[in-house]
């Protein structure tokens, strides 16, 4: 019988299982031996952190669901019961609530890493697109999850966002009624949001598996953006990146713990501690911070339908990014012009977030519109043009050469 690889117990039981379902051999290859570029920086930790956040959110969510009641008269009270009476209920709730924010922090950093180093380019276009699908599913899950406590922001945020669909011509209002299950956001809405909120994370798990499968087909990108050419360019994932990921995880958990134990309501809105009142709108309806840039884009356009189209376009545009960016060079390290406008994109997203938090009046509207304009300009005009017009810096011969030499890269590509 075939022996298993290095480091795996070559016992009879393991061989018996592997012969029938090569599970151990699979893990052996994908984790232990899997060749990873030797020059990955800490910006590459965020993928594994995102995976761990998904697990934390699902475990805390499933336990919370054992105590939560998805009925409009009882939902808010059931959450307070969790906070006060359930053993460690406050801890579970704060882990889940702040975990959502940290999940988005990690995923946004992971996305911007991809944007900077060209991880979306050939042959990783599908990997990137699966990632955008994960982002969309996360946004839907988070939106529905926020409705569940049935506070003022839960209710009114749900009202505003579901009303967006009424912008669709002809069938808009029918669709909204279908979503609501009634004449307003009400108990039927809450019930179905709970069901879908429980379901979608399992869909996310499936897409994450595809995402990792796509990744392992060609391996990780790296800060230099050049393909690995020989064994000197790669190292086995274990123990190098398992050790690095473990360290990164510990740092991340430290930040998570500081938030959960000492500032658990910092990222939230006090208005959500007021039970939902369909007859009174809060002074300002503000989504959670991770939706703010998109919210600002929506409000930049004075036309309802166009605003909705712009909102969805701002995410859908990411799907076609691999084809919008025409540069043959992956990493921004070697793209002097792209490097600069990347930071303009970051700034415009931060500005959009800031505008999204404020009422759409005065300067906030003007600045928001400028930032929205830049966002779309960046993807639709600048990326195609810069790819063609930019003169990239010469690429190093190989990863190994660049790392070992530690000098300026030698010949041009």
């Amino acid at each position: 019988m075939a022996a298993t690889g290095a480091g795996v117990p070559n016992s009879r039981i393991v061989r018996w299982i592997d012969y029938r379902l090569p599970f151990v051999k699979f893990l052996q290859h994908e984790l232990n031996e899997y060749p990873t570029p030797r020059n990955l920086t800490y910006w590459w930790n965020f993928g594994s952190l995102a995976g761990i956040m998904l697990v934390i959110m699902m475990v805390s969510g499933i336990v919370l669901a054992m105590h939560y009641t998805p009925q409009s008269d009882m939902a808010f009270d059931s959450v307070e019961r969790i906070m006060r009476d359930v053993n460690y209920g406050w801890l579970l709730r704060y882990i889940h609530m702040n975990g959502a924010s940290l999940f988005f922090v990690v995923v946004y950093i992971h996305i911007f890493r991809g944007l900077y180093y060209g991880s979306y380019k050939y042959p990783r276009e599908l990997l990137w697109m699966l990632g955008v699908v994960i982002l969309l599913l996360m946004m839907a899950t988070a939106f529905m999850g926020y409705v569940l406590p049935w506070g003022q922001m839960s209710y009114w945020g749900a009202t505003v966002i579901t009303n967006l669909f009424s912008a669709i011509p002809v069938v808009g209002n029918k669709i909204v009624t279908l979503l609501w299950g009634g004449y307003t956001v009400s108990n039927p809405t809450l019930n179905r949001f709970f069901s879908l909120h429980y379901l979608l994370p399992f869909v996310i798990v499936g897409v994450v598996m595809l995402h990792i499968l796509a990744l392992h087909t060609h391996g990780s990108n790296n800060p230099l953006g050049i393909d690995h050419k020989g064994p000197g360019d790669s190292i086995p994932f274990h123990p190098y990146y398992t050790a690095k990921d473990a360290f990164g995880l510990a740092v991340f958990l430290l930040v998570y713990a500081i938030v959960v134990f000492y500032a658990p309501n910092f990222l939230g809105d006090p208005a959500n501690y007021i039970p939902a009142n369909p007859l009174q709108t809060p002074d300002d309806i503000v989504p959670e911070w991770y939706f703010l840039p998109f919210y600002a884009i929506l409000r930049s356009v004075p036309n309802k339908l166009l605003g909705v189209i712009m909102l969805f376009s701002s995410i859908l545009i990411l799907f076609i990014l691999p084809w919008l960016d025409t540069s043959p060079v992956r990493s921004a390290k070697f793209r002097p012009i792209y490097k600069k406008i990347f930071w303009l994109l970051v700034i415009s997203v931060l500005v959009l977030g800031y505008c999204g938090a404020h009422p759409p009046e005065g300067w906030y509207v003007i600045v928001g519109r400028i930032a929205t304009f830049y966002y779309f300009l960046h993807f639709l005009i600048l990326l195609p043009l810069i790819g063609k017009l930019e003169r990239p810096r010469p690429l190093p011969l190989s990863i190994g050469a660049a790392v070992l030499d530690n000098r300026q890269p030698a010949a041009a590509e």
């Binding site: 475990v59 805390s60 336990v63 054992m66 105590h67 019961r81 006060r84 009476d85 359930v86 053993n87 460690y88 209920g89 801890l91 579970l92 473990a246």
Partner: protein, 188 residues
């Protein structure tokens, strides 16, 4: 006697050996920290499944039995289960006390099951598979011993709530209770 070179710690491999033990120490510490972290993290999740504070607050019930006449029986709720309170007649008490307990499947003296002989407080859940025995209301069958009769599989209990016949293995449970006055009890 020549020893293998590997068994001697030369200056060349001393650093490597020391490095190995330091790495082992680090790995061990990291592993131990991971284990402690994992277990400490799992505990709150598991403990959240234990009864919450509001459930625990309902774990005692107080009840004044004064309105129950001699010979009457009443059912009250305690921790979501029925509790049978029987104000026993002298005949019922005598019957309960004169049984030869060596004949019982679950031997227990009547005096071990009551605090005051006239008041029997037992949990009305059959010890076979959990049905509620009949015998509390007027006209209910009480079985041949004048106690209770379980309709599900035919278990029979006497006037002390002890199992006399049928598939039940044990006597009806006596909940923890105290008298807070001549007739008032606190159960649980």
């Amino acid at each position: 006697m020549a020893q293998g070179a590997q068994s001697q710690v030369t200056p060349a491999n001393a650093h490597a050996v020391e490095g190995e033990t330091r790495r082992d120490f680090l790995m061990l510490t990291a592993g131990a920290l991971g284990a402690i972290g994992a277990i400490s993290t799992i505990w709150p999740f598991v403990d959240s499944l234990n009864p919450a504070k509001d459930t625990l607050a309902l774990s005692t019930t107080e009840f004044d039995m004064a309105p129950i006449q001699v010979g009457q029986r009443l059912t009250i709720a305690w921790r979501g289960k029925p509790v049978f309170i029987a104000h026993r007649t002298a005949a019922e008490i005598k019957e309960a006390e004169t049984v030869d307990i060596s004949t019982l499947r679950d031997p227990q003296k009547d005096s071990d099951r009551v605090k005051k002989a006239e008041w029997l407080v037992i949990v009305g859940v059959c010890t076979h598979l959990g049905c509620i025995p009949l015998g509390q209301k007027q006209g209910d069958p009480r079985g041949p011993y004048g106690g209770w009769f379980c309709p599900c599989h035919g278990s029979i209990y006497d006037t002390s709530g002890r199992r006399r016949d049928g598939p039940a293995p044990l006597n009806l449970e006596v909940p923890p209770y105290q008298f807070t006055s001549a007739t008032a009890v606190k159960i649980g």
